[in-house]
Subunit: 189 residues, 2 copies
């Protein structure tokens, strides 16, 4: 695994920490190099940073799977809300900014703090959306390897807007109930 950052020093520091915690070899470098070396690019950046980061990596993503976990949130007066980007969703915005990449969207409903509990299963469903069927199946296969997680095919990339719209509720509930994260299981599927 390779971690990219605008600050290569920060990437290396975090990579060392994760290597120590997981016992796996993780490498830290700048964004452009990270994307060049990667097979699957996980785009986990604030929505506002998307234009700048896309500019950095645009020339390196052609033909690669780009996994967007981005949720366009707005925090205002103590409230949290999902905002709707002009292109419909963060994932569609990624597709617009990174033409030639194979955009898949997933993991929105899994809180970062839940994933930090290394070694614990993460009991939740993850909805996966993409217009690239093969790329989507690749990500669904990876998710199904994570203990506790179930991948759900959520259809085309434009459906990402429906998934992104659920995240504000999960953040608000985890805030209200003072828990590290609230995730979703779907009943009936």
């Amino acid at each position: 695994m390779i971690i990219g950052s605008r600050s290569p020093e920060k990437a290396r520091r975090v990579a060392e920490e994760i290597s120590r915690l997981t016992g796996r070899r993780i490498m830290g470098t700048d964004n452009r190099t990270a994307v060049r070396l990667a097979e699957i690019v996980v785009l986990s950046v604030p929505f506002e940073a998307l234009p700048a980061i896309s500019g950095e990596i645009r020339d390196e993503v052609a033909g690669k799977i780009v996994l967007s976990v981005i949720v366009p949130l707005r925090f205002q007066n103590g409230d949290v809300e999902c905002v709707r980007p002009e292109s419909g969703s963060a994932a569609e915005e990624v597709a617009r900014l990174l033409p030639g990449s194979r955009v898949v969207s997933a993991f929105h409903t899994v809180g970062a703090k839940m994933l930090q509990e290394i070694g614990s299963p993460v009991p939740c469903d993850v909805v996966v959306c993409s217009d690239d069927r093969e790329a989507k199946m690749r990500i669904i296969g990876l998710i199904d390897h994570i203990p506790g997680m179930r991948a759900i095919d959520g259809g085309p990339l434009k459906n990402s807007r429906l998934v992104e719209a659920t995240v504000a509720l999960l953040i608000e509930l985890s805030r209200m109930y003072r828990v590290p994260g609230v995730s979703i299981r779907f009943e009936g599927i």
Copy 2:
């Protein structure tokens, strides 16, 4: 239980059918009379019909619990989306149109078809929002009596916008998977 409708004949017909199916005495009448006789008013109407219905019942709801299950949805070109009313949510719109009533919002994430399976438990969580704590607790108590359901205190009425925003995904998933309804369980609470 009393069913109100703009068409009292329709209300009586449906009331008879439900009486037959459930073995309970159900009455059908016009909206105004139904609200006058009711202790808790369940407002289950299309969002677009809200202004007209509110006008009919406004004088009868003072001090009563009004339960909004309304989701402001838009169906367009085969897509479904939740729209945001100017007041923030359907529930806040109900509060604006029916001042003096005690508005609670709940049941958004439970599909009508799931509730029609009389006698079957309905496995799902129901988020309940209100600015009236006593009214909210009353509804939470009722939900916890329904086999399979768990009520979750979702905080103030304005949080209803976060709950309403999740429904389009559930409708889309039930359409994609051709199931009568998809509901939510929250993990971590």
